[in-house]
């Protein structure tokens, strides 16, 4: 399945979930009292692991990928700390990691890896104890590590730099009815789409050598663009 299909499918699910939020609460067969819902939400610790696909159209990314697409692994942990009726707020901590590489002009190999550490601040609108929609803002920092190997220099040209980053996304989470009654952990499936932003930087790569060559200037790189994410999670 290609990234486009995944994106299309998940976007459809997420947006459809949002558009149906206003009706879901009343139509849910498992409609519960406000007190029961509040109890289940307030105590929620949550851990999720997922896949994130980003669409990076900035020309600086062309040196590192034959497509405008960047894959990452995504790990997140959060804790619900406020509850207001059907709504709750859960901050957390997240780590995204991904890398890309390409052969440029038939001679050079290039690679780019990105670590993103962020503080996701997530507002949730609960439809029931088995489904909620969420809006997430995730300020943070990102470490971009770029490398270019060219036969005109014995050493690799590299650059690593921490940069400010931020994500905004919206998504939908559902709890499949697979668990045993009174199970200590609850599984979740979720998806979100949004826009990711990492500050732009000049890709002036320096050779890793005792007497390095002058820097190679690959222009500016801005890892920015729409993304989707699918994840499995567990709450307790």
């Amino acid at each position: 399945m290609n990234p486009r299909s995944i994106f299309f499918g998940l976007a459809t699910v997420a947006l459809a979930g949002f558009t149906s939020t206003a009706y879901a609460d009343d139509s849910s067969p498992a409609s519960a009292s406000a007190g029961e819902l509040a109890q289940s939400r307030t105590a929620m610790w949550r851990v999720e692991v997922g896949y994130r696909g980003s669409f990076v159209t900035h020309p600086g990314y062309n040196a590192f990928s034959t497509q405008d697409y960047f894959s990452q692994m995504s790990v997140l942990a959060s804790r619900t700390i406020f509850v207001w009726g059907r709504y709750s707020f859960a901050p957390g901590i997240a780590w995204d990691y991904g890398s890309a590489g390409a052969t440029d002009r038939g001679t050079d190999t290039s690679s780019l890896s990105v670590h993103r550490l962020s503080i996701p601040l997530e507002g949730r609108a609960h439809l029931s104890d088995w489904a909620y929609g969420f809006l997430r803002v995730a300020p943070g920092v990102a470490l971009e590590q770029a490398e270019l190997d060219d036969a005109s220099a014995p050493g690799a040209f590299t650059k690593a730099r921490w940069l400010f980053s931020s994500d905004v996304s919206a998504g939908f989470a559902v709890r499949p009815h697979l668990e045993r009654p009174n199970a200590p952990m609850h599984p979740w499936l979720q998806a979100d789409i949004g826009y990711g932003w990492i500050a732009a930087q000049r890709l002036n790569l320096a050779e890793d050598a005792p007497t390095p060559a002058a820097m190679v200037d690959l222009g500016t790189l801005a890892m920015q663009g729409a993304f989707f994410r699918v994840a499995v999670a567990a709450s307790m």
Binding site: T19, F55, R105, S152
Partner: protein
């Protein structure tokens, strides 16, 4: 937001974001990566991205790279003789039925004399051509179709008209159309084009000619003053036929005497035949209004064998045409007026003649006899090549009356394959390259000595174009090079990190500074182009600066 609207929006975002990168990132880098030296820059053609990397050094070893567009499908690259311009001929894209695609074009790269900022002008044309002749005076460039030793040369289209010349007036603005000129064909095609200097005594007034040597045993003379006429004058055609047989004669080289005591310009042509053709351009007998005011009177002279080189020279008996005949180890001096020939026995079988009068002074040579005691105003020639184990200085001031005493042989023990001129103020030196490639000699024309220098492997030599103080020697594909002082023959060894493909000494391009010094650029074709910059006057490996991956930049 409805489900359908949401889905459409999501699909549109996904579709837009999934495009591939521009094809430029996958355009291959030519392994040939040809580089060319100009006076203030080194230019490397990046044919894959249809651009030229113009490398200049402003101060220190700081390299500046400017990328300029060139046409698609480079077929020929030639620099001007003054090193100020580079001419890039391209065949363009294959034309589609819709007429899209880039046409063939000539791109001329030059520099602002104040800022040294490079720029280009382009002259598109219709049918691809693969060869270029550049006017030394800078007014004309002529494109034509011919087989050539140029790296890029190839037949560029399914059908070619080998007798079409395109004249590009280089003073006209970018986009100007060239002037077509159709040669009268006798079954051949242009093999060599030569721009004459101004011929002050040409009937009809001073003018310059383009001489076209064709493969079909004929020579064409085109008056450059009338190329741009609404109806250009037809060229003068000189047919070449052998006096001995009907064998095909192929032109091999031209010699020009702009004027002599008779007042009219003279030219001579050597061929694959033992006869040398010569002609004088006197007044025409034609009364046609559109006829050229000059016409050639042609003579044919047997020089005793097939000549390998010819030149007009000044002797003690006046101007002569000197023809070097390696087969008989002799030279023939032909009086261009009477066609009387004097044969001079040479000390060895030489194949080339170079006039060195300007280097040693007219009538120069030693004063202790032998190649000396010459008549004032006469020439001195350097003879080399073929199977001779050295070179000879030929004093033409005694060549007719005392031909037995006119040469001095300088033995270097091996066949000289090339003679490199050294610029002033060291013009009395010549650099002799030997067939082995591992040995070369510094020839002192005044002292008539040849000092050897040895290399551990076959070396490529490059003389400083500025003052001739030094010569650069490097072995292609290796990391060692050396700067050799031509006067003292002291050398400075240098090393580079990468194998050297070419080395060029250029002037630093520092705006508002007349003499900013000089830099040596070594070019490595490894990877995406590497360059090492040295100070040319005080070279040191420790002070050199490397640059790598240059073709990855500027995309």
């Amino acid at each position: 937001m409805s489900y359908r609207t949401s889905s459409t929006l999501a699909f549109a975002i996904g579709l837009a974001a999934c495009a591939g990168r521009p094809s430029s990132w996958d355009a291959p880098i030519s392994s040939q990566g040809q580089s060319y030296s100009l006076s203030h820059a080194v230019v490397v053609i990046d044919d894959g991205l249809h651009r030229a990397a113009v490398l200049t050094v402003a101060s220190g070893q700081s390299l500046t790279t400017n990328f300029l567009p060139v046409g698609h499908g480079v077929t020929n690259v030639t620099s001007s003789s003054d090193g100020e311009r580079l001419f890039v001929l391209s065949e363009g894209d294959a034309q589609t039925s819709s007429g899209t695609g880039q046409p063939p074009m000539l791109t001329v790269i030059s520099f602002d004399p104040q800022t040294f900022q490079p720029s280009e002008v382009t002259y598109p044309f219709s049918s691809p051509l693969n060869s270029l002749a550049i006017d030394p005076s800078g007014q004309w460039a002529v494109a034509y179709a011919a087989s050539s030793s140029n790296t890029y040369a190839r037949q560029t289209s399914f059908i070619e008209d080998p007798n079409e010349l395109l004249f590009f007036d280089l003073s006209r603005p970018s986009g100007s159309a060239p002037l077509p000129f159709e040669l009268r064909s006798y079954g051949g095609s242009p093999a060599r084009l030569t721009f004459t200097p101004e011929l002050p005594s040409l009937p009809g007034g001073p003018s310059r000619l383009l001489v076209v040597e064709a493969t079909s045993s004929d020579v064409h003379l085109i008056d450059l003053a009338h190329v741009a006429d609404p109806k250009p004058r037809a060229e003068v055609v000189i047919p070449l036929t052998s006096a001995q047989n009907s064998a095909t004669i192929t032109p091999q080289g031209l010699a020009i005497a702009p004027a002599d005591s008779t007042g009219y310009p003279k030219m001579a042509l050597r061929t694959t035949d033992r006869n040398v053709f010569s002609w004088q351009l006197g007044p025409t007998s034609s009364t046609a209004t559109d006829a050229n005011p000059f016409e050639p009177s042609i003579n044919e002279t047997d020089v005793g064998g097939v000549p390998s080189d010819i030149a007009f020279v000044q002797t003690d008996a006046g101007m002569r045409l000197a023809a070097i005949v390696p087969g008989t180890s002799s030279a023939a001096l032909v009086d261009p007026n009477t066609m009387l020939t004097t044969f001079v026995a040479l000390p060895a079988s030489f194949s080339h003649i170079s006039l060195v009068t300007g280097s040693v002074g007219a009538g120069g040579g030693s004063s202790d006899g032998g190649a000396g005691g010459t008549a004032a105003g006469s020439d001195v020639a350097l003879l080399w090549g073929s199977n001779a184990s050295g070179v000879a200085l030929w004093s033409l001031g005694v060549s007719v009356d005392r031909s037995y005493d006119s040469t001095v042989f300088i033995n270097v023990g091996s066949n000289v394959t090339a003679v490199e001129d050294v610029p002033a103020p060291n013009q009395t030196l010549k650099l002799l390259e030997i067939s082995s490639g591992t040995e070369f000699f510094v020839l002192d024309l005044l002292r008539q000595t040849a000092a050897p220098l040895n290399a551990s492997s076959s070396a490529t030599l490059s003389i400083s174009p500025d003052d001739g103080d030094r010569v650069w020697a490097f072995a292609a594909g290796q990391t060692s090079l050396a700067s050799i002082d031509l006067l003292t023959r002291q050398f400075t060894p240098l090393v580079t990190v990468l194998p050297v493909s070419a080395a060029y000494e250029i002037a630093r391009a520092q705006p508002s500074t007349q003499n900013a010094g000089r830099a040596l650029l070594t070019v490595s074709n490894s990877g995406a182009l590497g360059v090492t910059v040295f100070d040319a006057v005080h070279p040191a490996s420790s002070a050199a600066q490397r640059y790598a991956g240059l073709f990855m930049e500027g995309q």
